[in-house]
Amino acid sequence: MTLSAERAPAAYETKAPLVGVGARAAIRFWPLLVPLVGLVELGAQIYDSHKAPTAQQWSDVRSLVESLRAPGSVVVIAPYWAEPMARWKFGAASMPLRDVARADATRYPKALEVSFLGKRSPELAGWSLEQEKRSGPFTLRVLANPAAPSVTYDFVDHLDATSADVLIESGADAKACTFTSPAAIEGGGLGGPPIYPASRFVCEGQPSHVSVGVTIIDDEQARPRRCIWSHPPAAGELVTRMRGVPLGAEIRGHAGMGWLIERDRTGPPFTIRVLVSGREIGRAVHVDGDFWKPFSIPLGAFARQTADVEFRVSAERGGTHVCFEADSR
């Protein structure tokens, strides 16, 4: 093949007058745009590679974060993808696991938003600005929750032998599960269940997944949600009873299976019945595809009383993954 040898390609190209003279004059200089695009891209490459904060800059802003973060408030990073840098550099004191894997932000009275590149957290939309500071590439905003609730009790925080009992009820049979710490850590893996933690209620005679303990699942946006693992048995209900709960006006919570499990929508639905002092006050029914779904149950006459609260979990066809969290407010 001797294309270029026989005739230079430019020489045999036809330059048909496809556009008018005026237009041609206007676009006369287009060839210069091409190298210009190259140089602009070079500049943009240099800018982009430096626009997000470095590890050192995250370290540098740590003391300001600690000084602005009020006790009981949550630190939120915008954009969310940068959160691991914050967890690394701010540490568990500012970003404890409990906050990072929160059910939602509604229970916090205040938040400290650490943002850069002009990003804002959608989670905090509508919160009122109390204070704003800039430090290097960061903007730090102290925000107040306009509808901050008074949380009287967090059920996840109290899942231990001192506050809770767990049992399996099937018909007239009831079999207690034993709080074990340390239990063998089980579960996990990609596509598998979440971790069955080292401190959990172990139900003798049941497979290890039929147990109750605090774990973390992924929601439909792959966000972490700390919750009470409560896989029901093949038959009957798995009952978690919290003793002497100071109640607010309602019980609010969320339930899900974990996105990776739930996304195929092949599991059976599950039901969480909520009982106060032995009386059912409401239930949450979860169907595959509901993902991390909130529920709210008014306490009615039980409001602001102290009473035992039961979460009774059951599912058809031998059960499914169930993880829920709840508080009273």
Binding site: T14, V34, G38, Q45, A52, M85, G188, I195, A222
Partner: protein, 557 residues
């Protein structure tokens, strides 16, 4: 004229050779920084088995060709053909086991793949030079070399860059055969097709591509031939149909026995491949329908924009030239028996078609599955550069800059269009798959858009220093998405100290845990939190501020 042409191509071959050698040296020198990807681990194992078989073949070919022996070595990773893995294995056998040329064992396997990448530059340059001009060939080859994703994959002992070379080489041989009807290039085409079949299944697209090209470029003469009861099929297509399968069969011992069943198994594996998870614009896809925009957006987000601009310029100018000839009776037709532009366009179109035409084509693998289109894209980009150069020279003719010699202008323009790809490629190393172009705001912009940050667990290579320091004896490491063989190669290379041990497949039982971020794998990170009781990493490997790999450490009990 002829003598001058041959001399010109000899110089171009020299340029191509120097490009190839230069690229090969750069790849070898930079290989250390890139950790081993999942698939590399599987191919290390297969390649060393095939190399052992080869050694046995050399000493006792009769025994080595018995089915039990062949199956013993070649059943390993038989879902892919063996040629390229064989080359990885021979590279390892001769350049590491026999002559310790490479300091790291992993590099000796990878060297086989790197040679394909280097040869690609030579091939692209010579094709561009023959079809357009020397500068077009040079810009095309460099544009290919300076695609960050190509640069990353060019290091690996995987098939994606090798098949890009083999596909292009087969197309080049076919193109040459059209210009020089005769046996030589037809045979080369047939053999190249067989070798491409032995490289990766993208090669299945070669016959339809060439048939379509033949029909479109020679339809009229076909019609006339049919009228006379004659069918003139290019000899290269005949060679592909005859020599191709023979070479394919000969170079893959696995199909020497139970051939039909094994070929069925091979085809079935790829036609019914699992859908792996991949995030795209914030949504993880794991089953059809896959988004049709994926190939467009990912190409735009990962190929340097100036390369795409040159490609569009080149494509448009060629279209304009062809359109001009269609509508102008006086226009001269160039001598182009290979219908070059059509072949290049088909070379791109047929690679993208599976994702454009079907929402069932898997999108995992990022951009690597359509790498076979990139040499053609770059050849058009080279043509675009040529057009820009001519037009700029024309513009400057009446200015004071007209004193600028042509070579100086070409160099300046070359710098302008290649500096960004060069900067992006240098900066992408060793993170490779985490790199995105400024069009989407670089890595931070891509993270905000919800584009994939990595796959294959190769970024463990970025935390080896931390592990060597902190993973003391008795503190085993959960290695997450890194394949065990890939991890072991880091140890065999000495990149991981002997005391750094991998834990089992679950987080529990480990003291240190790696998490290579992929959206659908977040659940693994949460498992680490639950077991270790903390959400605070001990170290984060970040690229341009974007967290890529996190290391967790369990507090001593």
């Amino acid at each position: 004229m002829k003598a001058r042409a041959e001399k010109s191509y000899a110089a171009d071959h020299l340029i191509g050779f120097l490009l190839a050698i230069g690229y090969l040296v750069i790849l070898v020198k930079t290989a250390h920084g890139i950790g081993y990807a999942r698939d590399e681990g599987f191919y290390f194992r297969a390649a060393s088995a095939y190399a052992d078989w080869f050694e046995r073949l050399m000493t006792d070919w009769k025994a080595a060709t018995q089915q039990a022996v062949v199956d013993g070595y070649w059943s390993n990773n038989h879902e892919h053909p063996g040629l390229v893995k064989m080359l990885f294995g021979l590279s390892w056998h001769y350049l590491h086991r026999k002559v310790p040329l490479f300091a790291e064992e992993g590099t000796s396997f990878r060297f086989g793949g790197m040679c394909f990448a280097a040869a690609s530059l030579w091939l692209i340059h010579i094709w561009g030079a023959r079809a357009r001009s020397r500068s077009a060939g040079l810009v095309a080859a460099l544009a290919f070399a300076l695609m960050p994703r190509i640069f990353y994959h060019a290091h690996l002992d995987c098939f994606d860059v090798p098949i890009a070379f083999m596909w292009t080489f087969c197309a080049y041989a076919y193109w040459r055969s059209l210009a020089r009807p005769g046996l030589k290039w037809a045979i080369v085409t047939g053999v190249a097709f067989g070798l491409a079949l032995d490289t990766k299944h993208n090669s299945w697209f070669l016959p339809p591509a060439f048939v379509v090209h033949t029909l479109l470029s020679r339809g009229a003469s076909f019609g006339r031939g049919l009228g006379r009861g004659q069918i003139r099929v290019p000899l290269s297509l005949v060679a592909m149909a005859t020599l191709g399968p023979l070479v394919f069969f000969a170079a893959w011992p696995w199909i020497w026995f139970d051939t039909i069943d094994r070929l069925n198994g091979y085809a079935s594996f790829h036609l019914h491949h699992d859908y792996y998870n991949i995030v795209y614009l914030g949504q993880t896809y794991w089953k059809p329908p896959m988004p049709r925009s994926y190939v467009w957006v990912m190409t735009a987000a990962t190929v340097p924009t100036i390369t795409l601009v040159l490609f569009v310029t080149g494509m448009a100018s060629r279209l304009r030239a062809h359109a001009g000839r269609l509508f102008s009776k006086s226009a001269k037709r160039p001598f182009d028996p290979g219908s070059t532009d059509l072949l290049w366009a088909i070379g791109i179109g047929i690679q993208y078609a599976p994702w454009i035409l079907s929402t069932s084509t898997p999108i995992f693998g990022g951009t690597k599955h359509w790498f076979t289109a990139y040499p053609f894209l770059c050849l058009f980009a080279g043509a675009g550069f040529e057009v820009v150069f001519e037009r700029v020279r024309e513009l400057l003719r009446t200015s004071r800059l007209s004193v600028l010699p042509g070579w100086a202008l070409e160099t300046l323009l070359g710098f302008a269009v290649l500096s960004a790809p060069l900067a992006e490629t240098i900066h992408s190393h060793p993170w490779g798959l985490s790199n995105y172009t400024p069009l989407v705001g670089g890595a931070p912009g891509a993270a905000s858009l919800g584009l994939n940050r990595q796959f294959w667990g190769f970024t463990t290579g970025a935390v080896t220093d931390w592990l060597n320091e902190h993973a003391t004896l008795g503190r085993s490491v959960f290695i997450h998405d890194t394949a065990y063989d890939s991890w072991e190669m880091l140890r065999r290379d000495g990149r991981l100290a002997p005391h750094v041990q991998a834990a089992g497949p679950y987080v529990q039982g480990s003291s240190i845990a790696l998490y290579q971020h992929e959206e659908h794998m977040e659940t693994i990170e949460y498992q680490i939190w639950t077991v270790y009781g903390t959400a605070s990493p001990a170290y984060v490997g970040a690229y341009d501020g974007v967290p890529i790999i996190y290391v967790y450490e369990q507090a001593p009990k």
